[in-house]
């Protein structure tokens, strides 16, 4: 006998395990090969077991729990100010929200490492700094005395790339210039694909460059042909790059095709920012047409459209959406069915212009770069509470970092592995359908086409066009039109046969040929 609580736990584990199964199992019923069927059934069983073990580990072994913000009584979450949150939280979280006033060299762009430990920031007027966020330690600060448009970390905190006035540069953590990437030109935005070791940039003349930073090879260089843009974002699910253009289009790119994989018309007006959900199914775009739109990028369909103003977007690990608009920050949250509702809001000092909003991974913190420096606020429930030491470890030691870099290089993915559906790798092409349909199939197809033509209902028309004779005539025409392609197919086949029969015999032999009935 299973008690009610045991049953409840089993049910919960089943629900949790679904995530780890990564989709339904293969349909083995259709297989005729018994040996293969047995092997695959065994494999499926193993998958089920491992998913269950993972679900159990998730339920019982994870050390930390997600953050939350719950209103009481008439309170609303978006009315709660940062000051009141800070008063409630523990002392280590108390240090996390801050305002760094740097009035001279702003507005600031910022970027976190995937583990959320380090932050690099770049002021528009050439101020670069790297900070260890764990103990708020300034690692290096220097000035390049040149326009800085974007900063991005490379494979770890040892290197970062900076898009400067004429070219992007790569610096190490000491602030030494390592490389000048002249091929990229005046890059407006940089992105790094960490599994592929590719640095992607889009420059002033709207060219998209991919450079392999481990070998230095320019992997691809494509003209987007859709005008200057600084809206670029990597989809973490499949490493496809999304670009937003001034005509309202969003295009998606991979390094092995010169044409965009997808072109979507998302806004009536320039696209100002795009963001991708970590699960890879959701894209948020915002444009100058005062719309924020959520897209399902599996079928490229619009999910929701909201009328709101935002210049910048970012998705958190747990799927919260940060919107930055002038000096306001809003955080939206999924309220079920991928419908995003306001969750929190934060007002900067009036007159501060936001330049970048960026969630810190594995923390409930949102970093904000603006014209007067840098701020960070607490957003409970934004970050993934449990990190995996082998994926991204905020407490990484020097040795672990070195080890990880070597392994990342060994497992470096080739640019060809970037595709819209990365789970396709290792699968087979579906078998081609039969080239020539059989006679029966053609007959059936023709019959359905004729039926469809017969069942058409016409609009009521005036001035004698609604006469029964006219209507029947029109219907007959429709039927004839539906029949025609099938009949033409048949006539095409016939002369071929006739030719075969009419083999020219020599005169002397013609009398022996069989007479036609």
């Amino acid at each position: 006998m299973i008690s009610a609580t045991q049953q409840k736990i089993a049910d919960e584990l089943d629900v949790r395990a679904r995530k780890y199964l990564r989709g339904d199992g293969a349909n083995l019923e259709t297989l005729r090969d018994k040996k293969l069927k047995g092997q695959l059934a065994n494999r499926e069983k193993l998958y089920g077991q491992s998913a269950k073990a993972a679900a159990k580990a998730e339920k019982w072994l994870l050390p930390s729990e997600e953050g939350y913000l719950e209103p009481e009584g008439l309170e609303k979450t978006w009315m709660i100010k940062q000051e009141s949150i800070v008063r409630e939280v523990d002392i280590s979280s108390f240090r996390k929200p801050f305002d760094m006033i740097l009035p001279d060299l702003g507005p600031y762009k910022l970027e976190y490492t995937p583990s959320g430990r380090y932050m690099v920031m770049g002021g528009r007027k050439g101020h670069l700094a790297m900070i260890d966020m764990l103990n708020m330690n300034l690692i290096k600060e220097f000035q390049v005395r040149e326009t800085v448009r974007d900063v991005v970390f490379l494979q770890n905190e040892q290197f970062f790339a900076v898009a400067q006035k004429k070219y992007p540069y790569i610096y190490n953590w000491r602030g030494t210039e390592i490389h000048c990437l002249k091929e990229h030109g005046a890059a407006l935005k940089l992105q790094f694909l960490d599994k592929h070791f590719l640095l992607a940039s889009v420059n002033k003349s709207a060219q998209l460059h991919y450079q392999d930073v481990s070998t230095g090879v320019i992997v691809a260089n494509y003209r987007t042909g859709l005008g200057r843009t600084d809206v670029m974002q990597v989809n973490p699910y499949n490493a496809v790059i999304g670009l937003g253009h001034s005509a309202g289009k969003v295009t998606m790119w991979k390094p092995t095709s010169a044409k965009p994989l997808v072109t979507m018309l998302c806004h009536f007006g320039p696209v100002t920012d795009i963001a991708f959900h970590k699960g890879g199914h959701l894209m948020a775009t915002t444009g100058m047409d005062h719309k924020i739109k959520l897209w399902d990028i599996r079928k490229f369909g619009l999910l929701h459209s909201y009328t709101a103003h935002a210049q910048m977007l970012d998705f958190s690990q747990k799927g919260m959406l940060a919107l930055g608009n002038k000096s306001h920050v809003h955080i939206w949250r999924d309220s079920g069915n991928q419908d995003y509702k306001q969750y929190m809001s934060h007002e900067m000092v009036k007159g501060y212009q936001l330049a970048k909003v960026c969630f810190r991974p594995y923390e409930d913190v949102l970093g904000i770069g603006h014209s007067m420096g840098l701020s960070s606020i607490i957003v409970p429930g934004a970050g993934e509470p449990n990190f995996d030491s082998w994926v991204a470890n905020p407490y990484e030691t020097k040795k672990q970092r070195r080890e990880k870099e070597v392994h990342a290089l060994i497992d470096k993915l080739q640019p060809e592995t970037i595709m819209l559906e990365p789970t396709k790798i290792g699968t087979l092409k579906p078998r081609r359908t039969k080239a020539n349909p059989t006679k029966k199939e053609i007959q059936e197809e023709m019959e359905t086409a004729i039926d469809a033509a017969k069942n058409i209902t016409f609009k009521k028309k005036t001035k004698g066009r609604n006469k029964p004779s006219k209507r029947t005539k029109k219907k007959e025409e429709g039927v004839f039109k539906a029949k025609r392609p099938f009949l033409e197919q048949k006539t095409e086949e016939r002369p071929f046969k006739r030719q075969k029969e009419e083999v020219e015999l020599p005169k002397a032999l013609q009398r022996f040929s069989r007479k036609k009935a």
Binding site: Y237, I378, S389
Partner: protein, 434 residues
């Protein structure tokens, strides 16, 4: 208002002392590891490449004989012992670990044709073209000094003289009978000077004899009249016989002993006659040595070889053996040498740490998972072949294709059903006798 935020104390997530192990935290969420399949595929590809890089199967040659090595047998008592007999009548006991001769038996007058050890591993039996079977005492291998043997092996314990030259010998797996093959098949007891039983079926010479490891009373022989016969010691006459038209056609045939009308499987790959065959102790693989100067390892249920071993200096291979722990292969060839090979070409020898072992298991698993993809398959399958073998294989392929084509045409031009399609497994069988 209730609020909770993620807050980690550094002490909880890092080690206390530098002697401690680093703390490891796992989160199996699929969203944290994107592009899983691409990563796995890359690992499979890298594993396949590494396997190729580390594939160095040849360990060493053991020289000492002054004529071609004709036969070998394992020492069931010692993992590292192997006996070999050569064409000049010399019999040696080798130590595989040091690759040196431990003991040299005086041997036969002519060529040694067969060697076998008794079940308990105390006695060695050899037969030769000098019409004698000799029984030797196996010296005990000393752990301390393998070079020094303290027992006198200069004389055989017994010499059985008989009427004809012997071609092969094999000892029962459980019991103290042994069988010899020559003009007839004889069954001997160690304590009798004459055979206790004699089988004869046809007039041709029997060239090999093997006992069934599972059924101690069953033995099979092959003869130069293209026949394979199965004998049962409990019966006075031979049990079954099969005549095949497969004389040195480079293939190995696996039969179900109960159904001889059809081979279970044909193992094709050699380009010249297969001289010797030995099953791995696990029974999952077997090794073959061939006249084409190569050694191949086949899976017991696979039609093509998993591995091919060759060196420039290795000549016609006359005998091959798996070692008793299934991790080495020993081949004896015409060039008077015994050669020691790894059974898995890229296997890392020595003790593996548990982490290493797990890593290798993981790599094997991903390799197996992506084995059907073209790149992985190409790398895993690729073997460098010596030019003559490569050319001979190509020639064989064209010949077989031509033969098949001819068959097809013949079938197309004759009455339907008059030339039935016969599977290759049946094609070589001429007759089955009871």
């Amino acid at each position: 208002m209730k609020v909770k935020v993620i807050s980690r104390s550094t002490e909880e997530f890092t080690r206390e002392r530098s002697q401690d192990l680093q703390k490891v935290f796992r989160n199996y969420d699929p969203n944290l590891r994107t592009l899983e399949k691409a990563v796995e595929y890359t690992r499979a590809l890298n594993a396949a490449k590494l396997e190729k890089i580390f594939a160095k199967p040849f360990i060493g040659a053991m020289d000492g004989h002054i004529d071609a090595v004709s036969c070998m047998t394992k020492n069931p008592n010692h993992l590292k012992g192997i006996f070999s007999g050569s064409m000049d009548g010399d019999i040696r006991l080798w130590d595989l670990a040091t690759r040196k001769t431990v003991n040299q038996f005086p041997g036969h007058q002519g060529a040694v044709r067969g060697l076998t050890t008794s079940t308990d591993g105390d006695r060695l039996l050899s037969c030769g073209t000098d019409c004698t079977v000799r029984l030797w005492k196996v010296p005990v291998l000393e752990m301390t000094d393998p070079n020094e043997s303290n027992e006198d092996c200069s004389k055989p314990l017994a010499v059985y003289v008989w009427k004809h030259a012997f071609w092969a010998i094999d000892h029962q797996w459980d019991g103290n009978l042994f069988a010899t093959a020559g003009t007839q098949v004889e069954i001997w007891d160690q304590n009798r000077s004459e055979p206790i039983n004699t089988f004869e079926w046809g007039k041709d010479t029997t060239v090999s004899v093997r006992f069934n490891p599972g059924e101690p009373d069953l033995l099979a022989t092959s003869a130069s009249d293209r026949s394979i016969a199965i004998y049962d010691l409990r019966m006075s006459s031979p049990a079954r016989k099969l005549i095949m038209q497969a004389n040195e056609d480079c293939n190995c045939y696996t039969y179900d002993g109960r159904k001889l009308n059809e081979a279970k499987l044909v193992h094709k790959d050699h380009v010249s006659a297969v001289m010797d065959i030995d099953y791995s102790p696990t029974g999952r693989e077997f090794v073959t040595g061939s006249y084409d100067r190569t050694v191949r390892i086949f899976p017991f249920n696979g039609g093509h070889s998993r591995e091919i071993y060759h060196t420039k200096r290795m000549q016609r291979v006359f005998c091959v053996r798996f070692s008793c722990d299934a991790s080495y292969v020993i081949s004896g060839s015409d060039d008077t040498n015994l050669r020691l090979w790894k059974a898995k070409a890229s296997e890392q020898m020595g003790v593996l740490l548990p982490r290493e072992k797990r890593k290798l298991e993981y790599l094997d698993a991903v390799k197996e998972r992506y084995q059907h993809l073209t790149d992985v398959k190409r790398i895993v399958r690729h073997r460098h072949l010596p030019k003559p073998v490569y050319k001979a294989a190509a020639l064989r392929r064209t010949m077989i294709e031509a033969e098949n084509k001819k068959d097809e045409r013949r079938r197309a031009h004759s009455a339907p059903g008059s030339i039935p399609v016969q599977p290759f497994r049946k094609r070589r069988i001429i007759k089955e006798l009871e």
